[in-house]
């Protein structure tokens, strides 16, 4: 008689397994690395890591701040700084409006002051979903003000980069931000403060060539593309096949551009440890 309940139990377990594996097509997320579908829910619960292969999906700026800072400690800095259209570049205004609508952000960078395990710090995040996280004059200004805020308050600074480079619609004005942010970081460095740069996928162009590479400690997320010119451009220019994993975080670590590759679930504790080691009287 008990066979009936044993059979039922097996069937219920099979249903449960299937339910968890089953992904309704409307909210499936395809992983670009392993090609398998996972449900949006499974991915979002897993810090936006592919539950099967651990591929790091890009995350929004506010989500990044949410998983980095202590709960309830977040206070946004300079939220009103947003890009203008200084060159009246054709189609730029529409692109900005569309990006704002899509992401709910006013610019590609979000800065905040908060605590990590109780240690106060200033965190800036670039959001790759806002015009590829490109650096406009406003982004540069926001980051410079953020650096200066950290300097003035003698707080450690953490910048998460994710960018396609300088924003081309603002021409030279956006390229100038490379110098401006670098100069601000130079002053910050003279005060003997800690700057941790975290490179996430993708960190390229003018951002790599300025503040992203100036960290006292440079961390990177696994698999992040890090470089100045992209691999396709390089391949076309030099006409050679590029080595496996070229410009990926692990490759850059081997070649000395990155200090450590830290997976997203361990990022917060790593940052916390670095802050502890570098604080006054820290050990």
């Amino acid at each position: 008689m008990s066979g009936i309940f044993a059979k039922r139990r097996a069937r219920l377990l099979a249903m449960k397994a299937l339910r968890e594996r089953y992904v309704p097509p409307e909210n499936a997320v395809a992983c670009p690395r392993c090609g398998q579908d996972s449900s949006h829910q499974a991915v979002s619960r897993n810090l936006y890591l592919c539950p099967r292969c651990g591929h790091h999906f890009p995350v929004g700026a506010y989500y990044r701040l949410g998983i980095t800072l202590d709960h309830g400690s977040f206070r946004e800095l300079y939220p009103k700084i947003a890009a203008q259209d200084p060159l009246s570049f054709p189609g730029y205004r529409e692109k900005l409006a569309e990006a704002r609508q899509k992401t709910g952000l006013s610019e590609a960078a979000v800065s905040a002051v908060g605590t990590i395990d109780g240690r106060r710090c200033v965190v800036g995040v670039l959001d790759s979903q806002f015009l590829l996280g490109s650096m406009s004059a406003a982004v540069g200004e926001k980051l410079t003000l953020t650096i200066e805020y950290a300097e003035k308050n003698r707080l450690p600074l953490i910048l998460f980069s994710a960018s396609g480079g300088a924003r081309m619609q603002e021409g030279i004005l956006s390229l100038m931000q490379m110098a401006k942010t670098s100069a601000a970081l130079g002053r910050f460095d003279k005060r003997g403060l800690l700057y941790i740069s975290v490179l996430t996928d993708p960190t390229t162009g003018g951002v790599t060539a300025s503040f992203a590479s100036l960290g006292d400690v440079i961390l990177a997320e696994p698999g992040a593309l890090i470089g100045f010119a992209g691999p396709r451009v390089i391949q076309q220019t030099i006409g050679e096949t590029l080595p496996e994993g070229f410009q990926r975080a692990e490759f850059q670590m081997e070649h000395g551009f990155v200090d450590a590759v830290v997976p997203r679930p361990r990022m917060r504790e790593t940052l916390s440890q670095l802050l502890r080691l570098h604080e006054k009287g820290g050990a």
Binding site: I4, R8, A14, A17, L18, R19
Partner: protein
């Protein structure tokens, strides 16, 4: 109070009526067909009378057989349950003529509530919202076109005497209307001998929400909250819940009051249900029809209100006034019912009667199972395929869903395929859990649910 009641039905509802009768100290007479000799209600009734062969027309639908049995056993009342003779005005009249109390409204009321076009007019006069349409019958093509233009397409053409999906046509635009009208008229003439047509606006993606009412012989009418019966497969309800999810308190009050007005308009007596269509905008509701009987899903209203509806029916039929006032009726928590039908979802819901080889029913707090089955008892193929109703009651909707999942995990019925597993899957389906499904929701998601079952069978085959 009635002394002896004949139960003119079978299956779980016969048992349900029998239980309330026994609690009220009323003797029961069960009638049964040859196929139901071993049925539980037959075994438990004070007396049982066999009234004919298995075919429903010769037994449960045979008015003379039932009336004869009632008179021969000295009954003073007949409870018709649902289906069979429950909404048969002539039978209700015949009972009255034979000096028996028909536990339900009188034949006249059944007739009034049943005539579709006339009911619409009556409801409009009672300020019960009806779907916009032709006010009264449409006689010509021109009249129909004008009425359709006024309410907006798509529209439905319906036969005034219609029912059971006959004499109904859907029109998406004015081009289709003339031919549809002709077809529907011909069908109505063939089926009902009357080709009077009326027209109403078709509400797209509506929810099916109904209000339970009780009315006594003294003009007191109360409503006992609403039920959402939107989860239907081809108009066959599968899962019901009470109260309906996501109604604003104002809308709920309006619907309850409209139901009471509707009942008063037809001079209703006894337990009944007023069915409404709720527009997906969640603001407009329209009178659909009135069911002049106890319904399959009455149990969930009993769970949330704590009122024994069958007992109230017996009281009202005995000529007693209602012992509850509208202010005493409070709905607490949330109740869900799953119908376990002896049907095979994998085979187009083909009815699969058979012998109950093994039966284990769920229990625990807030759980109620109504079934006429017991181990070894056959489920005959001649009647509807309802095997059991599993109902749960919990403080919130989500807790009720969890409880229902647990119950369906415990529920074990061997012997024939049932819809239990489909219900179990529905309890996990995002569309159901979210709430507020429309009547076309289940049909839309069915392929996906069946696909799931197929995958399950495949993965089980792999493991064995």
């Amino acid at each position: 109070m009635l002394k002896r009641v004949l139960i003119a039905n079978r299956g779980e509802i016969a048992l349900r009526i029998l239980r309330s009768c026994r609690e009220a100290g009323i003797e029961t007479v069960a009638v049964y067909s040859e196929a139901d000799r071993d049925a539980l209600h037959v075994q438990l009734a004070t007396q049982s009378v066999c009234i004919g062969p298995a075919r429903a027309a010769d037994s449960y639908l045979s008015r003379t057989a039932i009336l004869t049995a009632a008179l021969a056993t000295g009954c003073d009342g007949i409870h018709p349950g649902y289906g069979f003779l429950s909404e048969n005005a002539d039978f209700a009249g015949a009972c009255a003529q034979a000096g028996l109390v028909f536990i339900g409204p009188s034949g006249d009321v059944i007739r009034r509530a049943g005539a579709k076009s006339a009911a619409r007019t009556m409801m409009r006069e009672a300020h019960v919202p009806v779907t916009p349409g032709s006010d009264g019958p449409v006689r010509s093509e021109a009249e129909a076109l004008a009425a359709a233009e006024r309410v907006g397409y798509p529209v439905m053409l319906k036969a005034s005497a219609g029912g059971g999906g006959r004499g109904i046509r859907r029109c998406a635009g004015p081009a289709e209307l003339p031919s549809a009208l002709k077809e529907a008229k011909a069908e109505a003439r063939a089926c009902f001998g009357d080709d009077e047509m009326y027209l109403e606006k078709l509400v797209l993606h509506p929810r099916h929400i109904e209000v339970q009412i009780l009315a006594d012989n003294f003009g007191n009418v109360v409503h006992l909250g609403d039920r959402d019966c939107s989860l239907q497969r081809r108009s066959q309800k599968l899962v019901e819940e009470a109260p309906a999810w996501g109604l604003t308190p104002e809308l709920r009050r309006e619907m309850g009051e409209a139901a009471v007005r509707a009942a008063k308009a037809v001079g209703y007596v006894n337990a009944g249900t007023v069915e409404f269509l709720l527009d997906p905008d969640g603001e407009h509701f329209y009178f659909m029809e009135m069911n002049t009987r106890i319904q399959v899903e009455h149990g969930i209203t009993e769970l949330v209100t704590g009122v024994d509806l069958i007992r109230q029916q017996l009281r009202i039929a005995s000529g007693l006034p209602l012992d509850i006032a509208q202010e005493d009726i409070a709905c607490t928590g949330h109740a869900i019912e799953c119908r376990i039908n002896a049907e095979d979802p994998a085979n187009g819901f083909r009815p699969c009667p058979g012998r109950t080889e093994f039966l284990h029913l769920p229990g625990g707090p807030g759980v109620r199972v109504d079934t006429g089955l017991y181990e070894g008892c056959p489920l005959p193929p001649y009647y509807d395929s309802l095997a059991a109703k599993v109902m749960v009651h919990a403080p919130t909707r989500l807790e009720a869903i969890r409880k229902m999942r647990r119950c369906l995990e415990e529920f074990a019925l061997e012997g024939f395929p049932t819809t239990a597993e489909l219900c179990y899957q529905l309890m996990h389906h995002a569309a159901f859990v979210r709430g507020g499904c429309a009547t076309d929701c289940l049909d839309a998601h069915l392929p996906e649910l069946l696909d799931f079952t197929r995958h399950l069978s495949e993965s089980e085959d792999e493991n064995t």
